[in-house]
């Protein structure tokens, strides 16, 4: 039975009765909580149909506020990922270098930017662009958001690349050495292509982190992304709860799809017959630490 865990015995009649009782009590508590929340919302008129109606009947809400916001979110996230990937690969390979004068600076850069909140990087970039460049005011928030995200995520991705290369079996390097390849060739033609496969799930998961972090740009820098459109919708229709709910659902669905895609990729690579089967887990502890994942014989908690 797929429904059983090793943490408890298969329920007998008494245990089944008790479980049903617990379930009922839990449901009652949950329903009471939900009922209280709903009544508070009702009292505040947040549940009235005219609050929610614009999202269903008024196409303008979508075309003027939500879709442009979503587009900006995706632009910022996509740009950040595109720029951060090669930068992160360079830093990650740099950290694996045999030369101390490459390894140590690369390591310092990675550790420095990983230790700093991405918001500080964005604020800094915003002010730096304002002071030293003549980038137009309208696009400056986008530049600042992307710069902050690139600096931070390149250093995270550097760790992913490093872990991906290190996860490959040693035999790959040994075999490449045995046929007379040089260090650069081994990295470029043997390790990196295989590491990319191993890294893919982790990279997709990092995309989730990036998408979530773009919301910071909306709240702090005035970048008109998805979260920013909550204020605009509320300004037009005075429906704060409905606006927040719709935007949150869009974020959740988008990120859930990305997460599911990452786990699917991970499973596919793990089961795949081609390649080494080495894969980095998608288990992200938010600002992911590729080495922080707990390996184990496994089996207790169902996933």
């Amino acid at each position: 039975m797929s429904d059983l865990s090793v943490l408890y015995d298969a329920p007998g009649p008494r245990a089944r009765r008790r479980n049903v009782l617990i379930a009922v009590v839990f449901l009652v508590v949950l329903a009471a909580g939900a009922g209280w929340v709903l009544s508070v919302l009702e009292d505040n008129g947040e549940l009235d149909w005219d609050q929610w109606e614009p999202f269903f009947t008024n196409g303008n809400v979508w075309t003027t506020f939500i879709l442009p916001g979503l587009q900006n979110t995706l632009i910022a996230a996509g740009l950040s990922m595109l720029i951060a990937l090669p930068l992160g690969a360079a830093l990650g390979i740099g950290r694996l270098s045999d030369h101390a004068w490459v390894r140590i600076p690369a390591g310092t850069v990675v550790e420095f930017f990983r230790a700093i909140p991405v918001l500080l990087l964005m604020l800094f970039a915003n002010e730096a662009y304002a002071m030293w460049t003549d980038i137009d005011r309208d696009v400056r928030p986008l530049y600042a958001v992307v710069t902050g995200l690139v600096l931070y995520n390149a250093s995270v991705l550097a760790e992913v690349v490093r872990a991906g290369v290190l996860a490959l079996p040693r035999g790959q390097t040994d075999a490449a050495k045995a046929i007379g390849m040089r260090k650069g060739q081994i990295m470029l033609f043997v390790l990196l292509p295989q590491a990319v496969t191993a890294m893919l799930p982790a990279i997709v998961s990092q995309l989730v982190v990036i998408v979530k972090d773009t919301a910071l740009g909306g709240a702090m820098l005035g970048y008109s992304e998805l979260l920013d459109s909550v204020g605009l919708i509320d300004g037009n229709f005075a429906n704060l709860l409905a606006a927040f709910t719709v935007i949150a659902v869009i974020f959740i669905v988008l990120n859930f799809l990305l997460t599911s895609f990452a786990s699917w990729l991970e499973g596919r690579i793990r089961r795949g017959k081609r390649g080494t089967g080495a894969v980095l887990s998608t288990t992200v502890t938010d600002e992911l630490d590729a080495a922080g994942d707990v390996p184990g014989p496994g089996g207790l908690a169902k996933t």
Binding site: D3, V6, L7, Y8, D9, N19, I22, A23, F26, L27, L30, V40, L41, N44, A115, I116, P117, V118, L119, L120, L123, F124, E127, A128, M131, V208, K212, A215, L216, G218, A219, M220, L227, V230, L240, L241, F244, I247, A248, F251, I252, L254, N255, F256, T259, T283, T285, D286, E287, D289, G292, D293, V294, G296, P297, G298, G299, L300, A301, K302
Partner: protein
């Protein structure tokens, strides 16, 4: 070089102290709520498992900024849930921020714990059941203590991420480090020294935590 640092005008240490308070309080709250969530997710009651799963997926996939801003604008200023603080005060935004951080960070605690439960060998739980322990006993006496020892390192990462995430509280006006930095770079002309100062502040907060908890993790881990 650091002549912009007028400590009478800019409460640098106060701001970082707020960051520390946010981190510690949210960390404790997330640990408690995250453990409860993890227990729900492995419990024998399907409805609890479902609740835990849905909760984790929903909150983990929502931007933290959205949660924090919603806590402030929606909970407090629209619905009037002020958590026993007065409107417009620092303590109101502080409490709302802590609430938001707990709601969000607990999902990562829960997932870390669940992977920790996975590191406990199956035989441990089987032996406990063979002794006739109930689910609660198996979990609280046998499995969770070993799981916690395995997840010190991942939980340390969550804590460090939380420390950095507390800057998001600036979005609802909590007077912590990021907000002070924004004020300072807008009013003083020395961008780079200010940025370095704040970066240094966060490195001082996160680096020793990471090193210390890394040491704890090595000592705590169950040798198998």
């Amino acid at each position: 070089m650091f002549d912009f640092l007028d400590l009478d005008r800019y409460d640098l240490f106060g701001a970082f102290w707020t960051t520390v308070q946010l981190t510690v309080l949210s960390g404790i709250g997330s640990l408690i709520w995250g453990t409860i969530l993890a227990a729900m997710r492995v419990s024998p009651v399907p409805i609890m498992r479902a609740f835990g799963t849905v909760y984790v997926h929903v909150f983990r996939n929502t931007p933290l900024t959205l949660i924090i801003v919603a806590c402030s604008q929606l909970l407090a200023y629209t619905l009037g849930m002020t958590m026993w603080a007065d409107f417009g005060t620092q303590s109101l935004s502080f409490r709302l921020a802590v609430l938001g951080f707990v709601l969000y960070t607990s999902t990562f605690v829960c997932e870390a714990l669940r992977s920790g439960i996975n590191t406990v060998p199956v035989g441990q739980a089987e032996a406990a059941r063979a002794l006739g322990l109930s689910f609660t006993q198996v979990l609280t006496l046998i499995v969770l203590p070993q799981a916690f020892r395995a997840v010190v390192a991942p939980l340390a990462n969550v804590l460090i991420a939380l420390t950095k995430n507390t800057t998001v509280a600036a979005a609802i006006g909590v007077a912590e480090a990021a907000l002070l930095m924004r004020d300072m770079i807008e009013q003083e002309a020395q961008l780079v020294p200010i940025a370095i100062l704040f970066a240094f502040g966060f490195i001082v907060l996160t680096l020793p935590t990471g090193l210390f908890l890394g040491w704890v993790a090595k000592r705590a881990a169950v040798k198998r």
